[in-house]
Symmetry: C2
Subunit: 437 residues, 2 copies
C-alpha cells in the first residue's frame, strides 16, 4: 500500500492537509474537530503515535492543548521475569485507562513479548531500544557497534512500536562535564547510562547523535514517533536545572527541528527530580527551546526522601508540570528506586498519575475537564453514593471504604454521622429543623 | 503566677521584647535565632500555640518563614467511638511527626478525652468548640444560646487547648448568598454548617462574630491561638475563589487585626477544593488581606473525583500552597469523604502531608530543607541502602519493598538489576568495564 500514499507519517499527512482516520479517532477523544487536531499535528505541537503495523491501536493525540496522557512502564527484568504476569499487567493497565505502555524489558525473549504486545495492546506502545541491544545481539555492551544500535531501532520499528526513546542529546561534552564532577547523581537515565558506558569504553561519540539522520529515516518509514530521551534528567533535587540538563535540552531543541524537517513526529522527554518551584519554568523553557513539541515528563519528583511514596512525590510534580503545559506524564509507582513494581504498585501508580493529569487539565482549562468534578459534586450534595462511586477514578476503593464503616444515619458517613455538613446544610436551606443529637 | 507576668500571650511577650522559653524551643527547630522568631511573633506572621495549662507541650512555631507544619485530625464520632483506639492514634501520629493534633470528637466523654490529650500529648492541641457544644450541654442545637457557645470555648481554653477554630467570618450576608443559589456545594465546613443551621433556626447573627471581643478575652487569658475558620471554604472545584469565599476572607482579615489589637495570636484557615492554578493566588490574597497571619490550609484538593485517594489530591494542593507561603497543612486521609480514618489511613495521610510540607519547604528555600535530600542522594549514588532507609520519610516501607524483591546483583534493585544506571555510571566514571549481561 505504501507506494500509493503521498505521506508516510501523520505529520506529513497533516502538512498536506489530509485528515487521517488516526486524527479523527484521536480528535473524538478531545472535544475537538479533526481539523483542529490536524493543525496541531502539522505544527508538531501534537503527535499521534501510530506505527502502521500496530493494527489494534486505539489512537490518541499527545500535546499541550490536548488532555494530558499517561504512560505506564512495564517489562521484565532479570530478577522479575514472568512474561505472563507482565501481559496481565498490560491488560490491567489498559483497563485502568493507561494511554501508552512502555515496554522496558531487559531479559529473555524481549522480541516475542514485544510482538505479543503489538498484537494485543490497544494502547500506544513505546520502547527504549538501547536497553534491548545487549539482549538482541547477546553480546557485551562494548562489543556492539553503532550499526548494531541502528539495527535494534529498526527491529523495534518493524515490530510495530509506536514511539521509541532515543537518547540523542548526550554527547562527549557531557562526559567531560560529568568527569569534572558537575553533578551529585550523574546520569540516572538507564538508557543514558548505557550509552555513556558505551562511549566511555569505546571512546566514540554517541551513535544516536552521530547517526540521527539514519534513525529519522527508519522512524519515518514506519511512522514511529521519536521520543527524545533526556539522559541528563536530574536524579536528585540538587542537580535540577543544571548545566548538564540545559545543555542537553538545547541539543534536543535542535534535534526536534531536524525531525520535523524529515517529517518525523517527535516528543521531548523531561525531568526527573526537581524542586516544585522550578517545574513551571522548566516546562516553559522546553516549550520555547523545542518549539512546542509535546513534553513528556517522568515525575517530576519534588523530593528525594520519600522512597515507597514516589507515586505521590511525582503526582505533585506531574500535576504542576501538566498545569504548566506538559502533555504526557510517565507514571511512577511506590516501588520506584526500590524494586520492580507488582500489580498493586502499578495500580497505585496509575491512579496517582491520572489524578495528576486530571488536576493539570482542570488547571489549564482543557475542554470538558471539569465535567466529572461537577457531576461528582452534585452527587455529593445529594448524598447519592452510587453516583459518586460511578464517577470516581477508583470507585471500587471508594465503595469499600464506605462499606467497611457503615454509618448509623442513612446518607451520611461514619466520619461525621449526623454532624454531616451536607445534611445540615440541605436541611437548613430547606427551612427544616436540624437535629444533631 | 499570672499576676506577676507582664504578658499573657506569646504575642504580648514578643512585643515587649521578651524572648520566652517557648520561643527558644520553637526557634531551635528552625535553624533560627530566638530573636528572629520573636520578631515574627511580634508582627503576627508566626504563632506559637501555647496554652499555659498544656504542660507537656513541645512548642513549635507556625508561619510562612518557618518550616511547614502538619496537623492531624482525630477524634471519635458516634459511628466510631473507641477513645482508647483514638489515643493509640494520637501516640502514633506524634511518633510519625505530627506537629499538631486537632481533636474533633463529637460523641461521648469529649471532655475526658480532651483532658487526657492535654496531659499526655506533646503536640499542639486544637479543637473546634462548636462541635462540642451539643455534647457539652446535651441539648439540641437550636436550644443553645450565644452564651452557651462562649462557655464551651471557655471550657476548652481552661482544659488546656492550644488553638481553637472559630468560624467568626460567617454572617447573615452569607445566608442570603447561599439562599440565592450562589454555590454548588454550599457549606462543607462541619463547624460552619452547624453555625449556619443555628442561625437559620434562630434567626440570629453568628454568635462567634457578634461576641468576638469576648472570645478574644477568653483566648488571651489562656493564650489560646485563634484559628479563624473558613466556613465558606469551597467544597468543590466549581465553588473555588467565589464571592462567598472572598467575602469571608475579607471578614477574616478584619478579625485578624482585631485579634492582634487584643494581643491574641491568630491563624487563618483556608481551602478546601481548588483548581491547581488558583492556589498560589489564594495564598497571596490571604497574605495581603490578613497581613501575613499564618495560613492554615485543608488540602487544597485539586480535583473532586478521587475519593479514596484524597491524601494525594491534597498533597498536590498542599505542596503548591506551602510553596506559595502557606504555613500549616491539615492532613487529609484516603478515607476523606467516605469514612472515619483508621490507623492505616491516618499513616497514609500523615506521610502524604509530610511530603507536601517538605516539597513546599524545598521550593520556598527554608533553611536546611534540602539537607536530607542531599544526603539521600549521596546514599543513592553509593548504593548504600541502609542510609537510604534511615533518611526516608517512611524507612520501614522502603525497606520492605526491597526485601520483598531481593536482587541477584548485590547493590542494585530488582527493577534494573545489572542495568542499574547508578552502577553503570559509577563503573564508567571510574574507568572500569561495564558488564550488563
Amino acid at each position: 500500500m505504501e507506494h500509493t500514499l503521498k505521506y508516510l507519517t501523520q505529520l506529513e499527512a497533516a502538512r498536506q492537509g489530509v485528515i487521517t482516520q488516526e486524527m479523527e479517532t484521536a480528535a473524538r477523544k478531545e472535544h475537538m474537530a479533526p481539523s483542529e487536531l490536524q493543525a496541531l499535528v502539522a505544527k508538531g505541537t501534537a503527535v499521534i503515535p501510530a506505527n502502521r503495523r500496530h493494527l489494534c491501536l486505539d489512537h490518541i493525540g499527545i500535546g499541550s492543548a490536548l488532555s494530558t496522557k499517561i504512560n505506564v512502564n512495564l517489562g521484565v527484568s532479570k530478577d522479575c521475569n514472568d512474561y505472563g504476569m507482565e501481559m496481565d499487567k498490560v491488560r490491567a493497565a489498559v483497563g485502568m485507562g493507561a494511554h501508552a505502555i512502555m515496554d522496558l524489558s531487559s531479559h529473555g525473549d524481549t522480541r516475542g513479548f514485544r510482538r505479543t504486545l503489538v498484537r494485543e495492546c490497544p494502547a500506544a506502545i513505546g520502547t527504549v531500544p538501547v536497553y534491548d541491544a545487549v539482549i538482541h545481539f547477546r553480546r557485551p555492551l562494548d562489543e556492539l557497534s553503532a550499526e548494531d544500535f541502528l539495527a535494534v531501532v529498526r527491529a523495534h520499528a518493524e515490530d510495530g512500536v509506536d514511539f521509541v526513546t532515543l537518547h540523542c542529546g548526550l554527547t562527549r561534552k557531557t562526559i567531560s562535564q560529568l568527569k569534572a564532577g558537575k553533578r551529585l547523581m550523574n546520569i540516572v537515565s538507564r538508557g543514558g547510562s548505557l550509552i555513556f558506558a558505551w562511549m566511555s569504553m569505546t571512546g566514540e561519540e554517541n551513535p544516536f547523535y552521530e547517526h540521527y539522520d539514519e534513525l529519522l529515516e527508519i522512524c519515518r518509514e514506519h511512522d514511529v514517533t521519536v521520543s527524545l530521551g533526556d539522559a541528563c534528567r536530574p536524579g536528585c533535587i540538587e542537580d535540577a536545572s543544571d548545566q548538564c540538563q540545559m545543555e542537553e535540552l538545547v541539543r534536543l531543541g535542535e534535534l526536534t527541528e531536524r525531525a520535523w524537517e524529515r517529517g518525523v513526529q517527535v516528543m521531548v522527554e523531561g525531568p526527573g527530580h526537581m524542586p516544585l518551584d522550578q517545574i513551571a519554568a522548566n516546562v516553559k523553557l522546553q516549550q520555547t527551546i523545542c518549539k512546542g513539541a509535546p513534553f513528556y515528563v517522568l515525575g517530576p519528583l519534588v523530593t528525594d526522601i520519600a522512597p515507597g511514596y514516589d507515586h505521590i512525590t511525582s503526582a505533585i510534580g506531574g500535576a504542576a508540570a501538566a498545569a504548566a503545559g506538559a502533555a504526557f506524564l510517565c507514571y511512577v509507582t511506590p516501588a520506584e528506586h526500590l524494586a520492580l513494581p507488582d500489580l498493586e504498585d502499578m495500580k497505585e501508580g496509575i491512579v496517582a498519575a491520572k489524578i495528576a493529569a486530571h488536576a493539570g487539565d482542570i488547571a489549564k482549562g482543557i475542554a470538558g475537564a471539569r465535567d466529572a468534578d461537577r457531576r461528582m459534586s452534585e452527587a455529593r450534595r445529594a448524598l447519592d453514593w452510587d453516583t459518586q462511586f460511578a464517577l470516581a477514578i477508583d470507585g471500587g476503593k471508594a465503595r469499600s471504604y464506605r462499606e467497611k464503616a457503615a454509618p448509623e444515619e442513612e446518607g451520611t458517613c461514619s466520619m461525621c454521622g449526623k454532624f454531616c455538613a451536607i445534611r445540615s446544610m440541605n436541611k437548613a436551606l430547606a427551612g427544616e429543623h436540624v437535629d444533631i443529637i
